[in-house]
Each structure stands twice: as structure tokens, then as C-alpha cells.
Symmetry: C2
Subunit: 192 residues, 2 copies
DNA sequence: ATTACTAAACGACATGTGTCGATTAAAAGA
DNA sequence: TCTTTTAATCGACACATGTCGTTTAGTAAT
């Protein structure tokens, strides 16, 4: 495993940003035609009109690209909706709805999801939002407050994933409400 | 992807059982020396004193073997403790403790866990236990009762995983109790 | 014991993976 | 403008992956 270029987005070099954007876009385009497992690094590089070696300057393998792409696009969706977890229940529902909608609009076929490791990119983001919200709400952001954040994030993702893969889906809004009901005791305590 | 032999354990042919057992044991031995990512199918086959092609008769790739091994060993642990989810809170705590202990005793180094997809094998088992328990408890095992089971399973695994990766772990028993407190409203409703 | 069945072994193949060193070219500062 | 820096390209390499057809040998039933 050779070292990559700038670890994350912490760069302003237009060449780096351009290459990463093109790789993500290329993968997104390929995923509309075939399954992730059947996409090779060579194909991604070709689709992005980049050399295969350039791919490895940025990502360790195609899974790392998938992770980065998922993270970037999920962040976009959250930002587009201007969701901030203020620590209220409504925000929890909005986040759950965001996860549901993201799965629908990003993953063509539900069967694909099972083989893709999206949890690694989505859950940490949701977790951070919960942590921020709980900190804003007065609770200190120590290890005690971050355990519920982690647990709630996994619960939300697991529920949304299950919903997305179920044959007859109820509307996303209804699912988000049910997730809120189930998950809010984790964050706010069983009393509320 | 060629088709494999008997889909799962539904075989009595001693040759098949022997090969699978040897492959799982070989992988377990190799994981004590190096990371999963650095283990090749050839190494696994050599360690198991089997031909590499024989590996592919049983598993699609090394991830599939890891999944099968994890599932088998986690089931063993549950069975050894004779845990049955009767629908009571105590059973939930026992299951949470089982997941915590499994992570400790099966995964050498916590950093390995992040790159391994164990959730795919552990969560479904926990989920099934929850479903069974809820059904026993009178609730019908329809889609409505299985959503909490899924959600709770993800929550338990996420919390246990976080605990396992944290630097200064509290005792597993204490963690199991905290998981029980957080997760039980998902299964039993926020009222109880 | 003979037979039918089929898992395991073996060698070989095309393709994909990850890395390397050397070269070219684009970005940014003097 | 010139210079420095470093990303991108290119060809090549050793190795891993997944599959195939054939042969060997273990299993189970007659």
C-alpha cells in the first residue's frame, strides 16, 4: 500500500480536485450500467479519461473510491437540505429521511447494496451530526455522549437499509417517522 | 461467478465438511499473524493443505470465507452459552455481551475490524434472534415486528464495535448493560 | 465387490491488481 | 518570464484472481 496524495480534500491543486471529481463521476456513471463488483479499475480510469496509475495516486483501490464518492454525495445531499441536527426530534427525522432518500437516488438496484460497503461512509457522517447536535444541546461531547451517537447512527442506517431493500416500500417520509420513534430514546433517553 | 457446491451446510459429505473446516481454520490461523487484506487465497489454500481451485469450489472469494467463518464461530459462541432470546430484557443484555465477547476473542487487533465486513455475518444472526424472541413474546412476526429487530441488531453491533475499538474499554459486562438500556426501547417500546 | 457419483487435485489460461521508475506537463511563486 | 514543484502519463513488472477441462480418488449405494 503506497502512500496517496493529499490524504483528503485538504488541497487546492486544481489537478488533484479535477482527477478526483472525474473518477467519482466515472464510477457513478458505470454503476448505472453494471454492478460494482464487475467494474474494474481500468474501466473507471478509461471512463474518467485518466491513466490507471493516476487512479492509484488517489485511492488505494476501487472500494476506497466508492467510500469517498458515497461520503461526498451524501454530504452534498445533507448540505442541499441544510440539515443541522439541533438536538430536536424533527432533526432526527430529517436525517433519517436523508439516508432513505440517498439510498434511493444513489443506488440503482437494491441487490447491489448488499455487496457494497456504504455503511463505512454514511454512518460516520450521521454519527458526527448526532454528536454535534448533542453537544449543542448542552451535553458535553465526551465519550458518554458519543456512544449514543454511534449507536443511533447504526440504528438509523440499518433501518433505512432494510426499508430500501424491502419489496413493498412504504413512503420514505413514513419510514423516517418510524425510525424517529425507534431511535429517539437512544439519543434523548427513554423518558422523552 | 461460477456456482458453488452445496449452498450452505446442507450436506453430509465428509469431504465437503472437511474442506470447509480446514479453510476456516486456516484463515483463523493466518489472521493471528497478518491482516485480512494481506492474506491471499493461495496462502489460505496452502495453510489448509488444499488446492487453490478447491477453495473456489466452496467460496466465491476470501470475503465469502470470512463471512462464513464469522457466522459459524459466532453461532458457536451463542450456542455454547445457550442464549435464547425469550423476549426479556436479560436476554438482550446476554446477546449484547455475546457480540462484545466475540469481537474480543475473534479479532486480534481492533484496527483490523474496520477493514473487515463482519456486520454482514453477525447482524443477521442477532436480527434473527430478536425476531424469534419477539414472535415468542406474542407479537406476530410480520414485517412490522421485524423492522425493530433489524434496527436493534444494527444498534447492538454498532455499539459493540465502537466499544471494541475504543482505547480504554470498560468491562464488557458494563457495556452490555449500557447497550441494553439504549436498545431495549426499540424492541419493547419507549414506555417500558 | 462392483458401480455410479462427485469432490479434490492439477496445470493452464486470460485478466486484473498494485507498484515502480522515468518522462511530460501543468500549477504557483520569485 | 523563469524556475521550482509535483501531478499525470506511460510502459513494464511480479503477482493474485477467477475459471476451465481433465484426471485422480474418496464416498455411498447396489
Amino acid at each position: 500500500m503506497a502512500k496517496l496524495l493529499q490524504p483528503e480534500a485538504e488541497t487546492t491543486d486544481p489537478r488533484i480536485l479535477r482527477s478526483r471529481r472525474m473518477l467519482m463521476d466515472a464510477l457513478a456513471r458505470l454503476l448505472m450500467k453494471k454492478e460494482f463488483e464487475d467494474v474494474s479499475v481500468q474501466e473507471i480510469a478509461d471512463e474518467a479519461t485518466l491513466n490507471r496509475a493516476t487512479f492509484y495516486l488517489h485511492y488505494a483501490d476501487k472500494n476506497a473510491l466508492l467510500q469517498a464518492m458515497t461520503e461526498s454525495r451524501f454530504r452534498d445531499l445533507i448540505e442541499r437540505r441544510a440539515i443541522t441536527f439541533t438536538g430536536c426530534k424533527g432533526a432526527l427525522r430529517a436525517i433519517a429521511l436523508g439516508v432513505c432518500d440517498y439510498l434511493v437516488e444513489s443506488t440503482g438496484c437494491p441487490t447491489q447494496l448488499s455487496r457494497m460497503a456504504l455503511e463505512g461512509s454514511i454512518i460516520p457522517i450521521v454519527e458526527d451530526m448526532f454528536k454535534e447536535g448533542l453537544a449543542h444541546h448542552g451535553m458535553a461531547a465526551d465519550a458518554d455522549s458519543s456512544l449514543p451517537a454511534t449507536t443511533a447512527a447504526w440504528a438509523v442506517f440499518g433501518a433505512a437499509r432494510r426499508w430500501f431493500q424491502s419489496p413493498n416500500r412504504v413512503p420514505a417520509e413514513e419510514m423516517a417517522a418510524r425510525i424517529e420513534t425507534m431511535v429517539s430514546p437512544i439519543l434523548f433517553g427513554a423518558s422523552q
